[in-house]
Each structure stands twice: as structure tokens, then as C-alpha cells.
Symmetry: D2
Subunit: 365 residues, 4 copies
């Protein structure tokens, strides 16, 4: 990170926390952490820890984050922010209180740090799309198409909160709101669990259901589809699924405005497709902007044009932005408040799906 960006702070990898002493020690060794703890609370007691990065399943986010902020640690928390709106509200409140003390927090919607997505935001901010009429966003994966894929923690509601909806649907909600700068004000939804039972997995760090044989119930959605309205008057459609055979990590978003359009697919993460509707129609068409130019967000810090970035770099950018905000004494984005808003959309989707798909207004929108 330092090799490419001029950072105001240089982070140290002080300690990693996990429940199994052996597995945690191995991870520390392999990943380069100086220390290892078997109780995350120990991290909060250490003076040499100033930042806590929460990568646990969603059911423990709130407890850890609130405690860490109270202990004066800057917190970056994986998405979705929590498993319930109530937890997310508590976290957002804690973050607000901590910010007043100069303690920073951020929710890890790392896709905001894909250069192409950051460029999309810039194009919208600069008015290049005009009034936004349509957003169509999809997050398509296929890793559980096989009904014999085991019942891992991500398929259990008590651990994960929801399925495709919270795991990947949360990303496209945030991405849509980030790029457009608008809010999703209400939704109507359908969700489905295609494979109702799956083989129990051998327990791995306690994260799978049971340790034995046999099958267990999948308690989360396999796919969630919802359509809604944007605060600026446009319409938006969303689809999150783990059953789109052949689509590996297709976070796709297309935005149509009165003056232009954008399209993106993470499976070609260095490309942003842009249509400028204001030029001569004989010349217009979607152009493939290879987002590796010196004047592109983040990308300019790396290699010459045409030398693409990878998934990893979204995290480097995220940390860079977080460290810069800490050094500058400003609040980084996306905030826990942003995470809470996504949580409210997720809740509205679940409510609509449960209530005959009726239109649900997103709380606070």
C-alpha cells in the first residue's frame, strides 16, 4: 500500500482474534499478524491496537463494534452492518457518539473502491447522466447451485441474518445509492429458497450447523428480487442470487439518465461502459472506458494505463481511505449510518416478501 500511495499513517498488523487458539495462531503466522488472541475483547484492552476490523458473521457485529467504539478504537465493520435494523441502529448511534470523541467508523462496502465504480460516481456527480430514470442492478453468483453443497454458516439465518439478500444484495443496494447519490424509498419483493435442505457440513471453526451427518434446513433466501423507487423519481430493479449458473461474481449495474448511461460488471472490473447521449447520434454508443488512466480514481496510483487491478485492490483502497480519514480527523464513508440505511432497505425487502409483495416504504427515507 505504501509503495503506491503516500499514506499519512502506516498501519501495523498487531493482532488477529479467533476462537481457536491453534487456528488463530496459524492464521497469524500465515497472514503476517504479530500477535493472536482467542477473545476479541482482549484486543480492546491493548494500547497498541487503535483500529479494529470486524470480519465475523453478522450476528456478532453489533456487540463487537459498540464495545470497540466505546473503547476508543476506530472500527471498520464488514457488511451488512448487522443482522437486524435494531442492531444497526445501535451501531449507528454508537458511531455517532464515538465520532464526537474523534473515533472513526466505516462499513466495508469495498465495491465503492473499485475504480470503475468510483468513476461512475464521479460522472454522476458531474452531471453527465442528467436525471436518473433507471437503475438495474444484479449480483449474480452460482456457488450453491449444486444441491449437495453443504449447509455452511452463510445459509443459516441465526448466523447470517439473510442469504443472498444480505450478503450480496446489500452490496448492490449500497452501490446503487452510492453512484446515484439517491435513496431507495420503497420496494416490492420476492424471495425464494430453491434448495430447502442441504447436507450438514463438518464443523469448521464452529461456523457450520452441527458436526454430524444428515441434512439440515436452509433458513435463508437463495435469491431475492426487488423493484423500487428512487428519491429522484426513477425506478430501480435488483436481483441477488447464488443460482445464476455460470455467473461467478457478476455484480452488475446499469444506470440510465436523461443525458447518458453507465454500465458495469465486476467480472470485468476494470471497465466502465459509458454512453454520452449529448453528442451527435451518428457517433454515439456505449464506450468501454478502461479505468486505468492516471486521472481515474485510485487507478492512477498504480501502473501505466491498461494494466488492470484485481479484487484485492478494493481493500487496499478502502484502508487507504480509512487511514486518511483518521489522520485528517474526518468521518470516512460509508458510515455506519449508511450501513443502517442499507439495513432498512433489506428489512423492507423482507417485509414485502413476507406480506404478499406489497410495496413497503423504506424507513427514514
Amino acid at each position: 500500500m505504501d509503495a503506491f500511495f503516500d499514506l499519512p499513517l502506516r498501519p501495523s498488523m498487531v493482532a488477529v482474534a479467533g476462537r481457536s487458539a491453534e487456528a488463530t495462531a496459524q492464521a497469524a503466522e500465515k497472514l503476517g499478524w504479530a500477535g493472536a488472541e482467542t477473545d476479541w475483547k482482549r484486543l480492546l484492552d491493548r494500547d497498541d491496537v487503535q483500529i479494529v476490523d470486524i470480519c465475523t458473521p453478522g450476528d456478532s457485529h453489533a456487540e463487537i463494534a459498540v464495545a470497540a467504539l466505546a473503547a476508543g478504537k476506530h472500527v471498520i465493520c464488514e457488511k451488512p452492518l448487522a443482522n437486524t435494523v435494531a442492531e444497526a441502529e445501535a451501531m449507528a448511534a454508537a458511531a455517532k457518539e464515538a465520532a464526537a470523541r474523534g473515533v472513526r467508523s466505516m462499513v466495508a462496502f469495498n465495491y465503492r473502491r473499485v475504480p470503475a465504480i468510483a468513476l461512475a460516481r464521479r460522472f454522476v456527480e458531474e452531471g453527465m447522466l442528467g436525471q436518473i430514470r433507471h437503475v438495474r442492478a444484479q449480483y449474480l453468483q452460482d456457488w450453491i447451485v449444486d444441491p449437495e453443497f453443504p449447509l455452511v454458516w452463510r445459509l443459516q439465518k441465526d448466523k447470517a441474518g439473510s442469504g443472498a439478500l444480505g450478503d450480496i444484495g446489500a452490496h448492490i443496494i449500497d452501490t446503487a445509492e452510492f453512484i446515484t447519490g439517491e435513496r431507495l424509498t420503497g420496494v416490492t419483493a420476492l424471495t425464494e429458497t430453491f434448495v430447502k435442505e442441504r447436507p450438514l457440513a463438518a464443523s469448521s471453526a464452529g461456523l457450520s450447523a452441527g458436526g454430524g451427518t444428515g441434512r439440515g434446513a436452509v433458513t435463508v433466501d437463495d435469491a431475492a428480487l426487488f423493484i423500487g423507487r428512487l428519491s429522484g423519481g426513477g425506478l430501480a430493479s435488483f436481483e441477488a442470487t447464488r443460482f445464476a449458473t455460470g455467473r461467478k461474481n457478476a455484480l452488475r449495474i446499469e444506470i440510465n439518465g436523461a443525458l447518458g448511461s453507465l454500465a458495469f460488471d465486476f467480472e470485468s472490473m476494470n471497465d466502465l461502459w459509458f454512453h454520452d447521449h449529448t453528442i451527435d447520434s451518428a457517433e454515439h454508443g456505449f464506450r468501454r472506458v478502461l479505468v486505468t488512466e492516471p486521472d481515474h480514481p485510485y487507478a492512477g496510483a498504480w501502473w501505466p494505463p491498461g494494466h488492470g487491478l484485481g479484487y484485492e485492490h478494493t481493500f487496499v483502497h478502502e484502508m487507504k481511505d480509512f487511514l486518511e480519514a483518521i489522520a485528517a480527523g474526518t468521518d470516512p464513508a460509508p458510515s455506519f449510518e449508511d450501513g443502517l440505511r442499507v439495513q432498512r432497505v433489506l428489512a423492507a425487502v423482507e417485509q414485502s416478501a413476507a406480506e404478499d409483495s406489497r410495496f413497503i416504504t423504506v424507513e427514514g427515507s
Copy 2:
């Protein structure tokens, strides 16, 4: 048509009907029709007319079709079949009665005759996709993005029935049901009219609203989004819009099954993308099948591989199939019954949009 297909019947272009004598005569001359009539009913009296092709706005389909079938004329009718379910029911009943007399009818969902779409159907029929989990269909155009585009007949409910929904949404409903061989059993929907008023158009053959200046209300939807359930247990999403800036005629459909997936975009109408999930994962990926091979539907009759077809050829194929059915004494597809079913989906979409997006079961499904 004869040059490429061995047809059992050779059609003659006997007469075209229109309301303006002058315009109709000009059209006949330009398009190669032997005669011209100013009252469509006159066509039904002529013994030299055996087929009637209905290309009027939707509000006159039912009257013309029912009369033509009663007069013993084979009928091909533009889509959507009608402006209301009641009209469509009357037409389907008339078609059924006529079929018993050997009189044939077909609704003109011409996209079924795109070779790539016919091939998609074949792949599904052959079991290459397995159980279908997802359909995502879009029909994206941008021809009324400009708010100064005039109030043509397609933007008036009394003439067109609905807007993007009936005009292009009907196509993707039929395409989805055709390829999958399944029914859309229920939907939840949002519709919107982004531009509420438009300039009155100079009257053109009576099809625009008023002949003067000033502005009039747009009485149809500009865009319709709906999601629904398929009879086989899958989920489907649909979007029809005339506000997708930069998308000219993007009829797009993607289908994910347990064993494979398909993707199509009419803007690249000779390509069908196919993912075979049953082969070694090191080799799999979406392949671009250029649907111009000798063993591809329709395409084999034309040129050598790689020499693409155009929009026009969908109509040639449609007529070929219609003539073959007449000659063989069989009922061509899609039938008026198929058209009625699409009409019921359109009605369900409109009802859901009107009733707070609640889920509406499609009648008869």
C-alpha cells in the same frame, strides 16, 4: 422468401387497406401491393384474399380479427393481441371456432423467429438447462427520452392500450414463456410515466392526438418493471422501458438453469450465449454461438456461416411458418390463446401496479 425456403404456398400481395385513399394508394405502389382499399371490410368480401394481416393499433384488433375469421380468412395479428383481456378472450374464442373450420390464426410475436431465440428454445427443450431458476428479461429502448418528442398514438391509452408494457413488455413475456416452456403465474409490478405531458403531434393519418399545437397528457406508462414466479418454481424479472438512454432495441433475456444458462440481446441478434455447467469447470464459460450454422433454426436456409441475418428476416420466418401451417392444416404458433395469456399477464401487471404492487396471480395460470 421463395429463394431460400421451399414453400408449399406462394403468397400474392393482393391488397392493402387504409383509411386515406391517397396514402393507401401510395403505400400500395411503394410496397408492391396489387390493390388498395379504404375500408378493411372490403378485404373480407374479396375471394382473392385468403389471408389478412392486422397491423393496426390495438384498439381495432378484435373487431377486424373476429370479422376476418368469421369470413373464413386466415388471420395473422400484430401484438399485443388486444387492448383488453375481454377483447383477447373474444379473439381466442373466435380463433378456436375458426380452427374447427380449418381457418388459421397466429399472433405476430416475431421475435420467436429470431434464429437465436428459436435455438434457445431448442436447447431448453433438449434439457440442456435443467430446472430453470431464473429469467431476467428486459426490453430497453430510448426513443422518447427527449421530453419534446411528440404525443404519438403509442403514447395514448385509448389507441395503444398501454405504453412500454404492451408494446415491448408483451414481447419479453412471450419470449420468456416461449423459451422456457413455462407460465408466468403471478407478478408484482411498478409502472411510471416520467414525462407527463408532451407536444401534440401534427396529425399523421389520424394516429396522433389532435392536430393542433400545445401539449397533451401522456396516458400510458413510459416504463414497467415487474417480477414474478414461473410455473416451474423459478423467479423472473421483467423491465420494459423507452427511457434506457443508449439502448436502441435491446430485447435481452438471460435464463439460468441448474445445468446451464443462456443469454441473448437483440442488439446482437445473431448471437446466443450459452453456458454449459456440466463440463469441466476449468473449461466452462459463456460461449458465443453465432447462430448462422446449417443446423440452426431458420439460419441454415440462408447464407454460409458467419453471414448474419437482420430484423427483416424474423418476418420472413414468421410468414414461412404461417404458410406452412396453412398448407399442412395445422394450427400455427403462437396462437391467439397464447396472445390471450400474454394479455392476462399484462392485465395482472397493471392491476398490481394499481394496487400498491401487491402480488397478482395471473388468471388461468
Copy 3:
């Protein structure tokens, strides 16, 4: 054709000529020709024939064209113009002499009438590319990859003149010169015949070698690669092959200028890719111009935007342009002189390949 274009002349399909009476009569019936002749010379005697379209193998082009022009018939001749430079010179001389009498001639490089290629020419003419640095053109097919594919006339030097070089290489030479408006001034080349012997084909209208069994020598190139210099100082590379497995009719050309670039592939014939290097680098990239807009060459006469054309339409456009030139009393392009120039490039390629690839200056350039 009349339905879409306002033509100054309306052609009649008077008679088709072939050597076999039965086959020719069948073709006339199937294709809609009013008459049939078994000797092409009879066409020249008929007063009701004003245009002769030469679609025979290359070894008979010169004789027919020169005679037809002498008889006062307008001539359109398939490409390559001839099998030798000497024949092409005779044809160009005859065309020049005929033009003085108001008799028109054209060589059928139909790809000039692909709207995307015509648009590419327009972009270059308008200066949008600036000085041209590179042309890379390929014409890739795969129809003889199988060594058991028979020895058809196109694989015999006495009939076809050359192999991939003359059949498809001629097209990319003409396309490159047409779009750039420059001349290919010299070349260095390699050619190869990968499969030296093939099964003798059952005689089909006398066009295959022998009628029996056994194998015969392939006497033309399977592939030709050449690189050369353009009159404007740029470099160009060309490849014509029938062994590019999976490429069906990939006439591809990419042009890089100081101010912009273009790319085209006939397998996506309605697309022209354009890079404008003069705009802000944060926004630039190759854009896909869907060449179906009203202000695009030819395309505007057909359907609404986004409704693509097919291979067939290149011939419609060709005839339209030819008829318009006849009516206007002007010389259509490409002329026999243009065809002669391509012939000279083909000859230079063959000479270079035969002389250790040394650089050969194209005659007359």
C-alpha cells in the same frame, strides 16, 4: 428494395444464364427470373437486358465483361475482378472505353455497402482519425479446416486464380483502401497450403475437379499473410485464411490514427467501434456505435434504431448505388480500375511469397 429506397430506376429480373438447361431453369423458377439462357452470350443479344451481373468463377470474368460492355450493357462483376493482372487491365480498359459511351461498370466489393464500413469511411473522410498509422485487417474463415472437405472449384488455381488470397484477401485489401482513402504501396508476404490434397468432389455444375473418386492436389493457397506500407506513411497487416477454426466470416479491420481509431468485425456487422482520442482521457475508450441510426449510411432507410441489418442488405445497397449511378449518368464505385488495383496488390503478394518474401512495390502505386 423499392420499399425502402426511392429508386430512379426499377430493375426487372429478365433472365439468368447457366450451362445446364435444367439447373438454370430451376434456378430461374426458384429465384424469380423471368427467363433462362444456357449461353451467356445470348444475354448480350437481348434488347430487354440492360445490366449484366457476372457471378461466375474468376477465369471467365474478363471475357464476359469485355463482351458485355462492348454490347452496351452495364456490368457489375464479382470480385476479384479477374484471375490475372493482364485480364484486369483489359477489363479496366474496356470499362474506361465504355464509360465514354455512357456504359457503366462496377466491381462487386459488397462489403463497402455494410453501413458500419461506409460509416468508417465517413469518419476518416471527416478527419476524425487524423494521420493513419496502422491498419490491421483479417478475413478469417474455417470452412476447409477438415482435410476431408472436397476439392471444390475454389481450391483450384485454374478456376479461382488463387485461394484465400483472391477470394477473401481481395475484400480486406479493398476495404482497407476504401476506408483509409490510401493505397497499399508495397508488400512482403507468406502463403501456405496446409492441406495439399483433398478428395475429389462429385461434379456439381462442372465446378469441381473431376467427377470420380480419389484425391487431387489443392493448387491454391489456404492462407496468405502480408504486411505492407500505405501511401500515407502507415503500416498495414493482412491475413486471409480458411483455417481459423471457429471464425466463420470474420472480416475484421482495425485502424489507428493520430486522433482516433476504428474497429470492425463482420461477425457483428452492425457495430462500428470508435475511439476518439481528442476527448478527456478520463472518458475515452472504444465505443460501440450501433450503425442503425437515421443519419447512418444506408441504415436510415430501413428500420428504427437497434434493428440490425443482415448480409443480404449489402447487395441491396450495392444495387441501389449502381442503379442510381446509371440513372445519374455517373461512374459508380468501386470501378474496374479499383478492381485492377486490388489485382495488382494480389499479384505483388504472390510475387513476394514466391521470391523469399522480399518487399514488392505494387505496380502503379
Copy 4:
């Protein structure tokens, strides 16, 4: 690197060498090197240095590499291996002698470590392409299109040896030979310097010509085109240019075999396009293999499928392979001998270009 691969050796970044004490110290600090030296020879004296990585311009490769190998240091050297065949021969000889002592060497053709290129090699090795008929390789960049771009060291023959030819042409020669497993046996070539003079650059670490104002002569090629023959009987075309406006880092290669084809473009570095010609023609077409699956070369060690890699990872893979070879006591590939062979092709290209493009047999092939 350790976090993703299980390495047998863990490297330390001991010291970086440069001529300017200040710049080198800054680089060490920024890039994380423990030490800095102003004379590369000092590195050879240090016992704590076991590997030397040569990243200087080509004119110093031979001296440094030969000395480092003599000093018992394992050497990885940037490409092209040298500026002349004589230097490369000396280096290959030194490498051979060193290998006998257990000292390893490798030339840094990092593109071999792109997962998609490694997968292409695997497909060819497994026989999936059959006999190779065609290779078409291009390396297209555009960074010196502007004639005001300064005269940096890469544009000076004494420093760089050649221009686009050695810098990027070397990569496509190696890539073509690596994937096919064949040798380029002879070539015919054209080279060109489009912009003959450029502004002198302000001296930067002594690498640009002169430190003043004014213009100087460009003494290397801007573009090199060559076509040649492969040891297996196929034909190959190559183009290396820095004037392909809009192409940023388009290392493209397409290979056609009797049984299948491959295509790759580094601007979409995670994709390998594969056409399997042995399956039913109704289903075949180029498929986009997203090279991020667990069973793909290198990629499996990183993230879940669909999460792409970037340019950086080619170097990680290169170092991993180098370290593994050192630990295993085997010779890593590509060897200096491989680098020498590429050098001989470069020399043949230059000779052909200088001798009227006559065909030059590659030495030792």
C-alpha cells in the same frame, strides 16, 4: 505472497541499488527495502543477498547478470534479456555454467504467469487445439502517439536496444512460443519510426537523453510488424506498436488449431476465449473462460471464482515459481536460453527489416 501460497522459502527485501544515493534511499523507504546501495556491485559482496533482480535498461543486463551469477547469486533478469545476441549468448552461457553449481536464473517474461496464458499453455499441451495453423499476436500501446512526448531512454537505441520491438515485441514472441510449445523458425519484417524527433526530456536519474531543451532523434522503432513460420508448420503474425491509439496495453494473441482456438487480450486479463471445434456445431462458439476457478493455474490460490486478478499478481506468481525452483534445486523457466532464443528472433526481425524484408531464418531454429 505468503498469505496465498505455501512457499518453501520466505524472501527478505535486503537492499535496492541505484546510482543516486538520495533517490535510492527514498525508493528503499517507500518500497520497503531494508537497505540501499549506490553501486550494484556492492550487492554481490553481501552474504545476506542470495537473489539479484535486474531491472535496469537492457544495456547493463549482461554485465550485471554475468557478475551476479559468478558471485553465486540467483538471478532474475528483466526482458528482453539483452540488447544484442552476443550479450544474450554470454548470459546464457553464464547461466548454464552457474546452473551446474546450483545457481538459478530466469528471464522475467512475466506474462507467462497470467493465469489465462498459463491455462492457454495447458490447453495446448493437453492437445485441445490439435495441430496449430495460425498464431496472430499483437502488443498494442499508445503512450507515444503525441509527438510532443519526450525522448525518454526507451526511445534511444544505446539504452534500450530497440523500441516497440524489444520492449513489447519480445513479450509476444515469448508468449507465442510458450503457449504453442513451438519455435518461430523465420520471419519477414517491416519496422517504422513515425516520429523521427522528439523533445529532449529533463534528465531523470540519467535515463533521458541530455538534460536541456531542444529536440533529439528517436533512434528506435515505433512499430514493428513481422510474419513468420512456426516449427510445426503454421503461420504467425506479430505486431508491436506504441501508436495504436486507444489500445493501452493490449497484448493480444489468437491461436487457431485443427481442433480448436484460443484468444486472449491483456486488457481483459482474467478472460481466456476458447473454441472447441470437436463438439456439435450447433453448440460451438468462442466461450469466455473466466480464469478464476480453483482448478486454474495460480488463480485457485487467491479468491473465490469471479474475483479477478491484476497486473501485480503476474509478478507474485513469477517470484513464487522462482523461489520454488530455487528450493527444489531445479531450473526455472523461462531460462536465459529461452531469453536468448527471443533475442535471436528480434535480431532476425531487425535484419529482415534492414534487408528489404527478405525472409530471415532464425539462428539455431
